[in-house]
Symmetry: C2
Subunit: 425 residues, 2 copies
């Protein structure tokens, strides 16, 4: 007997049959005595198809029109899901972002939620209806449709869960929870039964892309309990909520990210202001610089390296080539074959030995650390991409995260794993 | 310098390239100094695809959800058209039915327009914007999306034209106007420069399916001038407006309709109440009976025939078989190979000889008339379907409608024409 928001992503509603599955799942929750509100994304690749249509009409479509175009995707899936629930003999009613009371800023394509007024949803619930809400969209003060940016449906779900004071916001996907590491890379990874908001945010930004960071931030701020679980099984997943343990392990999970590249400026004169020029120019072009490494100066020259998403690489190189004469650097060198390995855990704050231990573990495996960055609850190290699996597995074992069981599908060599990994997942 | 509503159907916006064509056309109208509002249908077969998705989820989808699903089709095309206009350097803004101020009854899937409040459209026009309105949809008093029924975009266009007091409502399609007869059947058909609302309504209901009857009725009631023209040429089409001529020709146009079938009840006892039983039963099952023919009684028995749309035939036969024992008829005979030929003209009221002349013309061609029905401005005759082209051509010539020029593509034999004709067009 709970009040549940259940969010289903594009894969879970990709076909009429999958929509019927989701309907059965919602009805089962209802039969168990729960009140339930569904939030849905657009079916499968619909959003990409709509983006393609827009691109065929204009290379620079106005964002107001883009939002109305994209918002139709979720409106199709919400109507179909409501039909499927109705077909099972239960009452359902679909709600657009507007009808669900999601008011946003007027910044199209990346609107922020301003207020949530779920009176119509609460009315529907009190009449025994299963409300089905279109994710990803809201309405600005002009009454125009806005969208919350890619993946914004998670944020819609959390906002609604807050608005109706739900017990839990269940986020269903093709992943069955949060793991101590990516099981495809670390066969002994364990599913976590719970994780704190802070840890989840660090893991997400370090490359573990199960949940949208923005949704987790919203949940942390407004204390909404998220349950990340599989759309294809009934097993419990992972709860993301406030850390309630008195003491925690030093390391909760290990993330890896192969979507970044390392850029090095060779032989830059070691003078005041050079680094400032480089990173100001990159910031002006909106390049997301992650880590910065400056090597030891030799004879008045130094190398400056940084990492950034591969998708920003072209912008970064153009920018650097433009300022190259100005800073007297000799060359720009790009290394795409890097991986960032991050240890995350709130216990890290009170365990000062974590970094030293991690370096030793990687050293024992003859893995060279190319760069390091830290936050109070995270330690990230850049290594050669080919060593990703070896590094993750060694750290996973060393920090006591190994499960007794082994994922069978991940009995792969580190090379096979590297080949299988999707860049920027 | 005029205020124009321009409506484009699904074929005209079926692809990004066609949408760009429509945008160029609208910009040209604007460059000529006109103010213009566009109304669009869903792209190509989108509506059919959405109907297919719904059918895959439920065999009886709730109509509220069906309306939200279908309304997304027009929302996609309106956004894309606004983008295409913007790309040409002109200001455009899309409007849903709600934003365009189309309020309807709550009868989903076949809502009727209650009020039109175009303040947002007028505001946009005053700022030099080309408003692009989603056809086919409105909003009921609960704030729920409604749709106006198939082809409702014509009605939206006429309603907006009335709401903003436009000079003309241009309806663009793949047909370049209203003809004295279907040029595929009558090679000497002439395009009419204008036609009255009453004549247009009679022609539409007699099978000439260029415009939606409901849109024409709305236009007649509120005195909106419609201009039916081609989306693919600049040539003038046909104006549908109030009859302004002092005197008019007896016959304005000839329509034919091959979508009906004739059903005959053989050897019914010629007793009071039998016809009443038959047609009450058919009415109860929503069979649209068009013409009724009762032959002369012989020895106390008679044949009762009627015509109805082929799509109602199964319902009609089931109904008749059920009551057959009750009325003591011998058999049900169905004739699918019939055509209804209709002469339409407001001048017919003051030309009593039209019917007699039409019968003589068909008699001279050895064409047997199977049934007759009339209205003050229409005379319809049912003939053998194979004789459609012969009948239309002979009547077209006899009533002085022939053009000097001949449609080359229609140099077909009557048999070829019959084979080419689309049932229920």
């Amino acid at each position: 007997m709970a009040l549940i928001v259940a969010k289903f992503g594009g894969t879970s509603v990709a076909s009429p049959d999958r929509i019927k599955n989701v309907a059965r799942r919602l009805v089962r929750l209802k039969q168990q005595g729960n009140d339930v509100v569904a939030v849905v994304s657009a079916m499968g690749k619909t959003t990409d198809e709509l983006v393609g249509l827009a691109a065929a009409v204009s290379d620079n479509p106005p964002s107001r029109e883009m939002d109305r175009l994209l918002s139709t995707g979720e409106q199709v899936s919400m109507a179909l899901l409501a039909m499927a629930i109705d077909k099972l003999g239960y009452k359902a009613m679909s709600f657009t972002g507007r009808q669900a009371g999601i008011s946003t800023t007027g910044l199209h394509k990346m609107a922020r939620i301003v207020t949530v007024d779920n009176v119509r949803i609460l009315d529907a619930l009190s009449e025994g209806v299963i409300p089905v809400v279109a994710g990803f969209q809201g309405i600005d003060e002009n009454g125009d449709i806005t969208t919350l940016g890619r993946g914004g449906s998670d944020t819609t779900a959390v906002a609604i869960a807050w608005g109706i004071n739900a017990d839990v916001c269940e986020i269903y996907s093709d992943v069955d929870g949060i793991y101590t590491a990516d099981p495809r890379v670390a066969p002994r990874a364990r599913k976590l039964s719970q994780i704190s908001y802070d840890e989840m945010l660090e893991l997400s930004s370090a490359g573990a892309g199960v949940l949208q960071s923005r949704a987790v931030e919203f949940a942390r701020k407004w204390k909404v309990v998220i349950h990340s679980r599989s759309a294809f099984s009934d097993e419990e997943g992972t709860y993301i909520k406030e850390d309630s343990a008195m003491e925690t392990a030093a390391v909760t999970g290990i993330a890896h990210d192969t979507s970044e590249v390392k850029v090095t400026l060779r032989s830059v004169p070691d003078m005041n202001g050079v680094a400032g020029k480089v990173f100001s120019a990159l910031a002006a072009k909106m390049v997301s610089v992650d880590m910065i490494i400056q090597n030891i100066s030799e004879e008045g020259f130094t190398d400056i390296s940084f990492t950034c998403p591969e998708s920003d690489l072209d912008k970064a190189c153009e920018t650097l080539e433009r300022i190259l004469p100005d800073i007297n650097a000799k060359a720009i060198v790009v290394d795409k074959d890097i991986a960032k390995i991050s240890l995350v855990g709130t216990g890290m704050k009170s365990s000062p030995g974590v970094a030293a231990r991690a370096f030793t573990v990687l050293g024992d495996q003859s893995i060279n650390i190319l760069a390091i960055s830290t936050s109070p609850i995270r330690l990230s190290m850049v290594v050669d991409q080919a060593q990703t699996a070896t590094a993750v597995q060694a750290l996973h074992t060393a920090f006591g995260l190994d499960s007794d069981s082994v994922f069978e599908e991940t009995q792969l060599t580190p090379e096979e794993v590297a080949a299988k990994m999707v860049k920027g997942r």
